[in-house]
Symmetry: C2
Amino acid sequence: MRIAILTFDGFNEIDSFVALTILNRLAGQGWSAQITSPGAEVTSMNGVTVRAQQGLNFAAEADAVLIGSGIRTREYAGDAALLGQIRLDPARQLIGAQCSGTLLLARLGLIGDLPACTDLITKPWVVDAGVRVIDAPFVAHGNVATACGCLAAPYLAAWMIARLAGPAEAEAALHYVAPVGEKAEYVARAMAAIGLARGDGAGNRSARRS
Amino acid sequence: MRIAILTFDGFNEIDSFVALTILNRLAGQGWSAQITSPGAEVTSMNGVTVRAQQGLNFAAEADAVLIGSGIRTREYAGDAALLGQIRLDPARQLIGAQCSGTLLLARLGLIGDLPACTDLITKPWVVDAGVRVIDAPFVAHGNVATACGCLAAPYLAAWMIARLAGPAEAEAALHYVAPVGEKAEYVARAMAAIGLARGDGAGNRSARRS
C-alpha cells in the first residue's frame, strides 16, 4: 500500500506525522506513507522545514490519501490551480482529511452533503461549502473519512489500516503507539471511535481480505 | 521559554513532533520549541528528512530539553563523543525523555536509581544502566521526567507547560490537540497522568507563578 500524506506550507505537525508513523508500522508488509507536497520542501506552522518525499502527482497514484490541516488551508481552498493538481478517486482510493483538511475535501467535491468532522475555526467555511459538521472525532462514509482534533490522527490511520489490512493490524499499530499502562484502554477507545468495537475484528478482517 | 527537542537520525516522528506542536501552542507567550540536532539535517526512522533548527549547543542554553526516541538510540548511547556534546543541567533546566530517549538520560547520569519509563525493547539496556523501569506512561522526579508509548508525548509536553506556565495553560494546550468530542475526558486523563488532577490547577498555578 502506498499512502500520500498531503502536506502544505503551514501544516500542523501532529496531523501529518502521527499518521505517517502509524501507517509506516506496516512497512514490513510493503506499506509506505510519504510526505507529499507541491514543492521540494514544505515548512510547518511552527517553522520546521521538511523535504517532500513525493510530489502532488503521487496523490493520484496512491492507494490512500490523507490530508492534514494547517494554518493556510483557507488560502489553498481558494487556489483553483492547486486544487486542480489534486486528483483523487474515492471509487478506488481511501481518502481521509483532518480538521481544516476537510475544507479541501469539500472543495474537491468529495464530501457532498454528508456529515463531516472539522475544527471550530474551519467550521463556518466548511458549512459554507455545503457540509454538515458533527461534534465527533471521526466519521467515515464509504471510502471517505474525516476526523478532528490533532490527536484524532491515530483514528484516521487506524481506519485506513483496518480497511486495507484488517482490524487486527489496526489494533496492533494502535497498541504500539499508545501510552504504556494505557494500551488496552486506548486501543478499545480508538477502535470504537472508528466504528470497530473490539471483538468484531475477526469477521470484518476476513471480509476485507476476501 | 526556549525548548530543545533533541532529535537524532532514526528518530520517531511522533515523539519529536507531537511535543513540538503542543509546546509551540505557547508561541504567543514567547515560547519556542525547536528541532535540535547534531547536523544541518536529520532523517527520521521512516525516511523523512527535516532541517535542524538548532545545533546541539542549544541544549545547554535552553530552559527545557526533551529527548525523543528512535531506532538508533542504543548506538548513540555508546557514542561518548556525542554524549559529551549534550550538556544538561537538571538544577536549572526541565529535562524530559521518551521511550529509548530514557537510555540517553541514564547514560548522561540524569536518572540515577530513580524509577523511569521506557519501552520493552530499550528496557534491558536501561536496566543495565542501573535504572528501575516502571509500567506507567509518565513519571517525574524533580526536574527530570520520563514517559513512554509514542502517544505519551503530550504528557511530557503538558508537564513542561504546567511547570513553566501553570496547569491551566497545560490544560488549554491539551484541550486544543485532543480529539473533538473527547476533549474534557482527554484533558482529565492527561492531567492525572502527570500527577495534576483537574481542579488542583488554581493552587498549583499561583504557586508556580509566584
